[in-house]
């Protein structure tokens, strides 16, 4: 069972604001989903190797050759707020 405090903690980690109603609903939904997910624990997985990826590749290397990147105007064009030299963001604040 996921408590309200846990929801708020995880939402902070995810940088996600939730309204009070959403916190309540999320607590119920996450509890239900995690309870279902935990059916995995019926299995004996002692000694089983985890699979993180399915491609049989390791250390794909390439030459480290410099090449041109996007011009600034292309990079800044889509930003909600940009100057000619960077992205503008609100102050990180004091708290």
């Amino acid at each position: 069972m996921i408590e309200r405090e846990q929801v708020l903690h995880v939402a902070r980690l995810a940088r996600l604001r939730l309204t009070d109603d959403e916190v309540e609903r999320m607590a119920g939904e996450l509890s239900k989903i995690l309870e279902y997910v935990e059916t995995m624990n019926e299995l004996d997985l002692e000694g089983v190797e985890p699979t993180s990826h399915v491609v049989d590749l390791t250390n794909v290397l390439r030459e480290d050759v410099p090449r041109p990147s996007w011009p600034r105007e292309v990079v800044f064009y889509q930003a909600p707020d940009a100057t000619e030299s960077g992205f503008r963001v609100p102050s990180p604040g004091g708290s």
């Binding site: 996921i2 846990q6 929801v7 903690h9 995880v10 939402a11 980690l13 995810a14 940088r15 996600l16 604001r17 939730l18 959403e22 999320m26 939904e29 996450l30 239900k32 989903i33 995690l34 279902y36 997910v37 935990e38 059916t39 995995m40 624990n41 299995l43 997985l45 089983v48 190797e49 985890p50 699979t51 993180s52 990826h53 399915v54 491609v55 590749l57 794909v60 390439r62 996007w70 292309v74 990079v75 064009y77 889509q78 930003a79 909600p80 707020d81 992205f87 963001v89 609100p90 102050s91 990180p92 604040g93 708290s95």
Partner: protein, 465 residues
């Protein structure tokens, strides 16, 4: 000529272009008109004009999450509303190099998270067979466009079933290739160890043609390998000597009408010289639980980039953190927020091993089940979806019921293997899909088997209006 195009597969249209019966520009024009008149909600953007160089093959509908230079590419999310990337995904570029032009961008579940297309930030898509029903998801727009004849063919992405399930629900062909067959560069990421691009088409031959152009190693995606030997045109008409292992027919929730069509297809396999036996995938039922840890965990990491700084939506007053939090609250839809929360929780301190670690081990067990099956049989087959297309709104209030829509399609991406869904009949007037999976890089053999079966099934009834 133009109206005649509607009745032709993409390969047949290409042959008309090649023969000089019709120009590629005329073909593009025709489909542009069809796409612009779409009233199912299948498109988020349609090309405004026919390009001077219209290529050599019919144009394609592209799922919104593929970056196409200068064209809106929003992954169905309000957080990317209006975003036009400066570059084009390798998969789309490969198609362009082969003479295929982009017809439009198709609607999808936001960031590919969904099985009904109802999670799109830009509204749902209706199923052309019955407008009160969903087209499936997450590549719902691509599937509906091909089924309704507003696109000659399409591409989508499959993470847990997002190509095969909508193909099944819309009565078309959809294929998820082996992980690594097609570059993921320029695909807006959902779950990077699972995502794979593939075709949605009217028939198996069209799927093979698209896949032959899509596949290939790409220096921009270090997990890409291409398909060794490429993808030849399928030609098989018999299944002599081939062994098919069927699973999941006793599943609770499998509709009798779906089971009936799948059983009829198994009988056709035997008529064509193949053999059918029951197989067990003992860990398949843990596929959904493992998937709903792994995919959200990877998504929570991939979606951290949407912070209102470099592109897309921004909202909120106050300091930087407050801007991040408000932007992400306002920009993401409900299901995306839910998955970010599940994934962040599963990866958070103290829970990582219990959830993510366990899910990765289950992933190993599922891959072992499939490997063991392929010791005995050439293909693993099942229904693609336990049900026909369900009603709009039917599963939106119950996330778990929606997640279970992917029961038959989730084991393959967890194991990284390829699988196709072909239409095999109707139940209550709605299409049923038959799924054929094979070992890694067995695309050519799967396509051949699907080709032979497709001929024998003779599915007709794309509800073109």
């Amino acid at each position: 000529m133009s109206e005649e195009l509607l009745g032709l597969t993409a390969a047949e249209q290409a042959a008309r272009i090649e023969a000089g019966d019709v120009s590629a520009g005329e073909v593009f024009d025709y489909w542009r008109g069809r796409a612009a008149a779409d009233d199912l909600g299948a498109y988020l953007w349609v090309a405004g004009e026919t390009p001077d160089d219209a290529g050599t093959l019919p144009p394609i509908a592209v799922k919104d999450l593929f970056c196409v230079g200068g064209v809106p590419s929003m992954a169905g999310s309000r957080i990317l509303d209006g975003y036009r990337p400066p570059y084009t995904a390798t998969s789309v570029r490969n198609l362009q190099d082969a003479g295929v032009r982009v017809l439009g961008k198709t609607n999808q579940d936001e960031f590919a998270m969904g099985s009904s297309n109802e999670n799109s930030g830009f509204g749902p898509v209706q199923n052309p067979w019955d407008r009160t029903r969903v087209p499936g998801g997450s590549s719902g727009g691509s599937a509906a466009a091909v089924a309704a004849g507003t696109a000659p063919w399409a591409i989508g992405t499959d993470t847990g079933g997002s190509i095969r399930q909508p193909a099944s629900l819309c009565g078309i062909v959809g294929m998820k290739p082996t992980y690594g067959a097609v570059s993921r560069y320029g695909m807006i990421a959902f779950a990077s160890s699972l995502d794979q691009c593939g075709p949605l088409t009217r028939d198996v031959t069209d799927a093979a043609i698209l896949l032959s152009h899509l596949q290939g190693r790409d220096p921009c995606d270090s997990t890409s390998l291409g398909i060794p030997g490429g993808v030849p045109l399928p030609s098989a008409e018999r299944l002599d000597g081939l062994r098919f292992g069927v699973w999941g027919m006793e599943e609770e929730g499998l509709e009798p009408g779906v089971a009936e069509q799948v059983n009829a297809t198994l009988a056709k396999i035997e008529e064509l010289g193949g053999s059918v036996e029951r197989i067990e995938l003992p860990h398949a039922k843990y596929g959904i639980p493992a998937y709903y840890v792994i995919a959200p965990a990877e998504a929570s990491s991939n979606l951290a980039r949407y912070d209102g700084v470099r592109y897309g939506h921004r909202s909120g007053n106050g300091d930087l953190t407050s801007m991040y939090e408000q932007t992400r609250h306002d920009g993401f839809g409900e299901e995306v927020r839910r998955r970010i929360m599940i994934g962040t929780y599963a990866l958070s301190s103290g829970y990582y091993e219990a959830y993510y670690g366990t899910a990765q081990k289950v992933r190993t067990k599922i891959a072992e089940d499939l490997a063991a099956a392929f010791e005995k049989v050439d293909f693993v087959v099942s229904p693609t979806s336990a049900t026909v297309a369900f009603k709009l709104g039917e599963r939106t209030q119950d996330p778990l019921a929606m997640y279970l829509s992917d029961y038959f399609t989730v084991p393959m991406p967890l194991a990284g293997i390829p699988a196709i869904s072909i239409p095999c009949g109707l139940s209550e007037g709605l299409p049923v899909g038959f799924q054929i999976a094979g070992p890694a890089f067995s695309e050519a053999r799967i396509l051949d088997a699907a080709h032979a079966l497709e001929k024998s099934i003779g599915f007709e009834g794309v509800p073109v209006a």
